[in-house]
């Protein structure tokens, strides 16, 4: 999973945060898919993650850490990491870029959304970050629209948006590596998959860090 996460980070060179603006388009369908990372030669890299999307919420089940999943809500702007077996959740923060690159978009104006995210992430530079609509393309048997994203001083990345899903289905990094949705299945998603049960507890890594500082594990010099 780490390699997938790394690839996802390389794909965009930006931190995509979903704006709260509701789309005027017809409600897109709920669906599930596999998230697969591949190198430039097309070989699979790392483990497959499982994506589920309903309304403006996404859930991504990962294999590392085992049993963990991320849930993000585009309306509230939150992304959480959940361990269901242990009844615990944490702020996902930067734990994975997947929660920021695989989110619902406005299929007519995804660039506006990504531009806002790039501005927030500080990678848009001084107005020379560009997002351009290219042409229609078939990705994994689905019709998509290709976009080219160019950050200042970097080679472009590419994204493919599937209009009926309101969702990007593939990202490609400048080095040719990609991360894409495969085995997309249009199907209703149980609402319970996207919520945090009331008995789950939130954990703060800062508290863990403070405890560890009182152990022999922590060897930062005092001086």
């Amino acid at each position: 999973m780490r390699k997938i996460l790394g690839r996802g980070s390389a794909v965009l060179h930006l931190s995509v945060l979903v704006s709260a603006a509701a789309s005027a388009q017809p409600a897109p369908p709920e669906f599930s898919a596999d998230i697969v990372s591949r190198d430039a030669a097309g070989a699979q890299v790392g483990a497959i993650a499982k994506l589920r999307v309903a309304d403006r919420k996404t859930r991504i089940d990962v294999s590392d850490p085992p049993g963990g999943f991320f849930v993000s809500d585009a309306d509230s702007g939150t992304a959480l990491f959940v361990r269901s077996v242990q009844h615990i959740f944490l702020d996902a923060r930067q734990s994975t870029p997947l929660t920021r690159i695989f989110v619902r978009v406005d299929p007519l104006e995804p660039c506006r959304q990504w531009q806002a995210a790039a501005d927030l992430a500080g990678v848009a530079g001084t107005g020379d970050w560009r997002c351009e609509r290219m042409e229609r393309a078939i990705v994994n048997d689905r019709e998509t629209v290709e976009y080219r994203l160019t950050a200042p001083g970097q080679r472009p990345s590419y994204g493919w948006v599937e209009p009926t899903l309101h969702f990007p289905v593939k990202w490609q990094a400048p080095d040719g590596g990609s991360i894409a949705l495969e085995n997309i299945r249009i199907e209703a998603q149980p609402a319970g998959l996207f919520g945090i049960p009331s008995d789950y507890r939130k954990l703060d890594p800062q508290a863990l860090l403070e405890r560890i500082k009182h152990s022999d594990v922590w060897a930062e010099p005092a001086k």
């Binding site: 734990s95 507890r201 405890r211 594990v217 930062e220």
Partner: protein, 679 residues
Amino acid sequence: MRMNCRNHLAWGASAALSFSLLAATAGFADDKSNDADAADAVKTESPIKHVIILIGENRGTDHTFGVYKPKGKHQTISNILSKGIVNEDGTPGPNFSQAQQFAVAPQPLFYIGAPQKAKTVYTGNQMPQPNTNGAPSAQGTTGAPFTPAFLAAAAALDPSPDFNANTDTILTTGFTGLANNSLDSRIPNAGVLPNGPFVLQGPNISDDDYTGATTHRFYQAWQQSDCSIANATKANPTGCLNDLFPFVMATYALNDSTVPAVQKNFSEGNSMGFYDAEQEQASLLKTLADRFSLSDNFHQSFQGGTGANHFMLGTGDAAFWSDGNGNPITPPAGQIANPNPSAGTTNKYTADNNFSNCSDFTQPGIAPIVGYLEALPYRPAPNCATAHYYMLDNTNPGFYPNGFRAPSPAAQNMIPPSPVRTIGDALNEKSITWAYFGGSYNDAVALSNDAVTAGTAATLNSSTALGAAALADPAHSLGVAYCQICNPFQYATSIMGDPAQRTAHIKDTVDLLADIQADTLPSVSFGKPDGLLDGHPQSSKIDLFEAYVQQVLDALEAHPKLKAETVVFVTWDEAGGYWDSGFIQPIDFFGDGPRIPLLTLSEYSTGGTVNHTYADHVSLLKFIERNWKLKPLTDRSRDNLPNPKMRDDQPYVPRNMPALSDLFDIFDFDHRVNQPYLQ
């Protein structure tokens, strides 16, 4: 503060021992069964085909087994109960004064054998009192100990199975209910405790409670041991009196407003605390001692702390500051120790740093130790190479857990990559399988990757960088609990500098359990829990380490054939600064130090025996080398020392000092007993 849950302690002393005696094995022929266990095919000197070394944190022999009565027939033990220092209920015994601690008048220079005329009994015979130091004051919803509703909270952070049914409950318990750095009033009679050992047991304290730690650093430990040939007797020919423990803790640092908080010390009298095994404290360890073998003359190999002792465990030697290519160089001035007292203080160290060149007698702190070694009848060599600055105290390795090499170790306060040969190198050369299994290692690798990506790994100390990464990557935040300094192979260029070696041999606890499950356990395994489960008194608890041990033993129990050919050694990195009454054999400049327990768990080491043969961490290397027919690691490593020739009249003092056991005499390979580890 006591909680009413000790769910893992069901085995207790009342557990019936249902021994199943099996016929002795007919020699040590290799197992010919066609299973997945490649280690079976390797020729060994004994029937042992696998060794697992589990290492806890910071517990000494008297601290853990001071009040313990061996269960084996005609077995004896040297501890504070057998010496009459305390009674079975932990109260002062008839010979309590043998453990009396002293204060020392100010001296001009660092010393390890205090002048007798400078030593005084504390006023009212009352030593510095126990202190909560940094033990957690309360339960939290965001860190251990957790609130009861938070049973599995920490487990959520850990992709390894460190957290399980054995630990969930006890991860909620044991907070002090007191302010940090205050008198630990949970201890009965705290504030007026007499001058000597005190039991960590009462209505408000037990082995299920966090307690204030006590400093355990190199020069402090030598000074606490109070070794002088002038003190030598027939029973104690090296003259270590172990009578300055609270004094050194109360004086080596200052706690006034002129001192930064991180340099203050509140260890005070914590070093004199002990558990009462006869009253069900550390009951899992006691059960194992009752059923298998306990060593009461096993020692930490290095005076002081975690990093140097683990390094000795992996190399039989000490680490030194180098250019990263194997050549010794002088470290930055801020790394060099000066334990001489600051002007106007009783014993406040001038520079409590981590490295010394012990080949140069003119450097601070060196002459008293080397002079003492030269005065001993057996004149042990200091083993200090010219111009080598040795790592005496905890310093992070020059490699991050993912193998990233710190580009500026000096600026990052990390020791440059080490050329010192490890037991891993020796095993590799003979194609003998091995692995180091560190709790939360996989998370630490993830955080290291984050730190490399963020650029912090190139500039910051690895503890700091991983801490920052944990806040940004909470899913892997338990990686901060992986112990970098505990992994002797993380220092080594030959292992961490080679991605193939690192990935083949450096693993997580989850991999240890998986290997047992799959019958693919390496011949040699080192197991180290993470910082929440390692048993450290201030950040973990002794029962959490017991739970870790139990998890490994449970896994083995489910695989009887593997269990039958496996020895599990359970020991500690050091005594954690806790006082001990045992004999110490100085071997070189670096140690030995106080006793620590060693439990030997195998079908050939049963019956509740107590082994008295002198040994230390390097004895574990000697066991591996003898069993798998390896040579000593280098011409200067401690595994060159002979086996001790023990004396009937002085069973703890080798006749041929310096000497270290290879541990083979713990086993009876003609007598195999198949019994559960715990029941």
